[in-house]
């Protein structure tokens, strides 16, 4: 099964706080692949769990690695990356 990985920088003023984490989880949930978001080479958090994403405690400027494994891995990574780039619709 394909694994797709991309990096994206968090440009959101307040970082990955409660609302963005919830939005990201909602987006990741639409896909069948396993999706993980991490940083600094760590295994990372389960992107479908908003609370797990919050433990990343990621602030502005953090470079996140989005990795998905599964049939729709490409689409999943694309959707997540786009949401981050769009600053979760906050600004």
């Amino acid at each position: 099964m394909p694994t797709v990985e991309r990096q994206v920088t968090l440009l959101n003023n307040l970082g990955l706080h409660v609302r963005p984490a919830a939005r990201l989880a909602a987006i990741a949930m639409q896909f069948r692949s396993d999706v993980r978001i991490g940083r600094d080479g760590e295994a990372g958090a389960n992107a479908k769990s908003g609370l797990d994403l919050l433990t990343l405690s990621a602030l502005y400027g953090t470079v996140l690695t989005v990795r998905a494994t599964g049939e729709d891995a490409e689409a999943a990574v694309e959707a997540v990356v786009r949401e981050v780039q769009a600053k979760f619709g906050e600004e």
């Binding site: 919830a22 908003g50 609370l51 433990t55």
Partner: protein, 584 residues
């Protein structure tokens, strides 16, 4: 505890004054009664957890509605995120596993899950750790535990007598549920002017000061406090004099200020003999502008830009800054907006790879930092200029200590203008560029600055600290900080005189300007532009309207002859009262 009086500064979150005993409040918590359950009880426990989740969700939904009605749309987003996380399927699954496989009680399973989450968040290195996220996750856990405990609100603050509440932070629900009869004021360590505590305190008319930093641990329940929600000051163990002054201010506020504000809003600030004076406001955020205008100011004499740099994490981009400056310009229309470039030091704005300073207050701060970080400075200047189109924007530099320094800053400014022109950006080409007069060295050579500096603004707060060599935050010697020190009177007089001779407009934007005690003095010393905290504007306007210029000059002349700061203050108080009984 028999300690001396202490004054702390925070953010003025809700206007008014309160005097009363403190009640220090800790966080609300739900205990874990049992950790383990019998195997036979597993199914029931799972159901209990499920029902608690439903109840929690229902509560948040109705809370969203209530908050939206009582406070407004902005406050609601706090809760929407919480709602989503309560439904996190992975969280639910892990807790069910805890119950089913490890025979944990629901409370214990929830607590263990969240404890793991907290540890992950907290063991990030300090630079990455977000206290706010921790608080939010703790709130989510608390809500689940509350409904497992039957849904009754715990940690309700039950006051036995009228008190001032002191806490690290108040949860939205704690704030909404306060017994308004018994709460005299609210003081919190965390929070800002738009936090829910501030919003709700304002809606209820309870004076509040937030963002004080450490204070809930320095105050013990029972300590007497003064809460000055209009200026963001809290006084612990106030002495008699301070108590008297605040009691009068409190009376004033509730009886007179409201009426006064409405009465005076549209009247001109001019003396009895027709001398026109300008009253402007000091603000920190664009959002303060409507309320400032409501107090009857004519424009903004000091727009502090530090807030842009103090937000979590990063230096503001040009676009981020532009948005805020434009917001301000739009709210003011053609009214004056004096923007001060960032006034921070390395204590609040540490620089990558730069060694920390032993004395950041006399170090690389304000204009010095901007000049050593020209990229950052240029970004700010570009944003201010781009926002200037269609408004009446003026620019000033803080902490200027020499003509060379001003010239260096001005040169960068001119380069930025040139660049914007090349890029065909629209901006106001004729923005006046001025400076703060707050370093004594600069105050002494205003005449040398005048040919090149288009306006001045006297920052008495720092001027007094530098001139008298006193750190006003140092409790032991804070009493030495005296605006009525004869040296300060002379300095202000001389700066105003020098500026007047050269035709350069000069304002006073320090606290001295906002204190009605000094209004007549400043007027008599030559001041024609007061930049004040908005709530002070009506009273100052009233004072000015109650005297002739000669009256004010006589007061100033007498004060200049006196040698004792306290005696001068006393004298000013007497003369002010004669002219306007009921004033401070």
């Amino acid at each position: 505890m028999g300690e001396g009086m202490k004054t702390r500064e925070g953010i003025a979150a809700s206007l008014g004054f309160a005097i009363g005993p403190a009640v220090v409040v800790g966080r609300e918590e739900y205990p874990i009664r049992n950790r383990r359950i019998e195997p036979s009880a597993v199914a029931a426990e799972e159901s209990r957890f499920g029902r608690a989740c439903e109840a929690a969700e229902k509560e948040i939904s109705s809370l969203c509605e209530e908050v939206e009605q009582r406070v407004g749309k902005d406050a609601v987003s706090i809760f929407q995120g919480h709602f989503a996380h309560l439904r996190d399927p992975y969280m639910r699954k892990e807790i069910i596993v805890g119950i089913r496989r490890y025979k944990r009680s629901a409370e214990y399973a929830v607590s263990c899950y969240f404890r793991r989450k907290f540890r992950k968040i907290e063991t990030q290195s300090p630079a990455l750790f977000s206290a706010r996220v921790l608080e939010d996750v703790a709130d989510i856990e608390r809500r689940l535990l509350k409904h497992l405990a039957g849904g009754l609100e715990n940690g309700a603050i039950r006051l036995k007598a009228k008190s001032v509440i002191v806490a690290h932070n108040l949860s939205p629900v704690q704030t909404i549920d306060l017994d308004r009869e018994k709460v005299l004021g609210i003081v919190t360590e965390a929070g800002g002017p738009t936090s829910h505590t501030a919003l709700i305190a304002r809606a209820y008319g309870i004076p509040a000061v937030v963002g004080l930093g450490a204070i809930s641990t320095d105050v013990t329940s029972g300590d007497m406090l003064v809460v000055n929600g209009s200026q963001g000051i809290v006084v612990i163990h106030p002495d008699e004099e301070t108590l008297k002054r605040y009691r009068a201010q409190a009376r004033n506020f509730y009886l007179i200020e409201r009426r006064l504000t409405d009465e005076l809003r549209d009247l001109r600030a001019e003396t009895k003999d027709g001398l026109r004076v300008e009253i402007l406001a000091n603000i920190e955020l664009p959002e303060e502008i409507p309320s400032a205008l409501d107090y009857g100011v004519e424009g903004i004499g000091l727009f502090r830009t530090e807030f842009l740099y103090l937000r979590e994490g990063h230096e503001p981009t040009e676009e981020e800054q532009l948005r805020q400056y434009r917001k301000a310009v739009e709210l003011l229309g053609r009214r004056k907006l004096v923007v001060r470039t960032v006034d921070l030091g390395m204590d609040k704005l540490p620089q990558d790879g730069w060694l920390p300073e032993r004395n950041p207050f006399l170090g690389t701060r304000a204009i010095r930092l901007s000049l050593q970080r020209p990229d950052m400075f240029r970004t700010q200047l570009r944003a201010i200029l781009r926002a200037s189109a269609g408004g009446d924007v003026r620019l000033m530099f803080p902490m200027i200590s020499s003509l060379e320094e001003f010239r260096e800053a001005r040169k960068l400014y001119d380069e930025v203008c040139e660049a914007l022109r090349r890029e065909k950006e629209v901006f106001d080409e004729k923005i006046p560029v001025g400076m703060m007069v707050e370093v004594p060295a600069a105050a002494l050579i205003v005449d040398l600055f005048a040919p090149e500096v288009e306006f001045f603004s006297i920052g008495t707060n720092d001027l007094i600290q530098y001139a008298v060599a006193v750190d006003r935050v140092n409790e032991r010697i804070a009493p030495l900080y005296q605006p009525t020190h004869p040296a300060i009177l002379r300095m202000v007089r001389d700066v105003l005189a020098a500026a007047q001779r050269t035709g350069r407009p000069t304002a006073v934007c320090g606290e001295m300007s906002s204190d009605p005690l000094f209004t007549l003095l400043l007027l008599g010393l030559g001041l024609r532009e007061f930049s004040v905290v908005p709530p002070a504007a009506p009273e100052i306007k009233k004072l000015i309207r109650s005297v002739t210029l000669d009256d004010a000059k006589a007061i100033a002349e007498r004060a200049l002859q006196m040698t004792d700061a306290k005696a001068i203050a006393h004298f000013l108080q007497e003369r002010t009262r004669e002219i306007l009984p009921g004033a401070s």
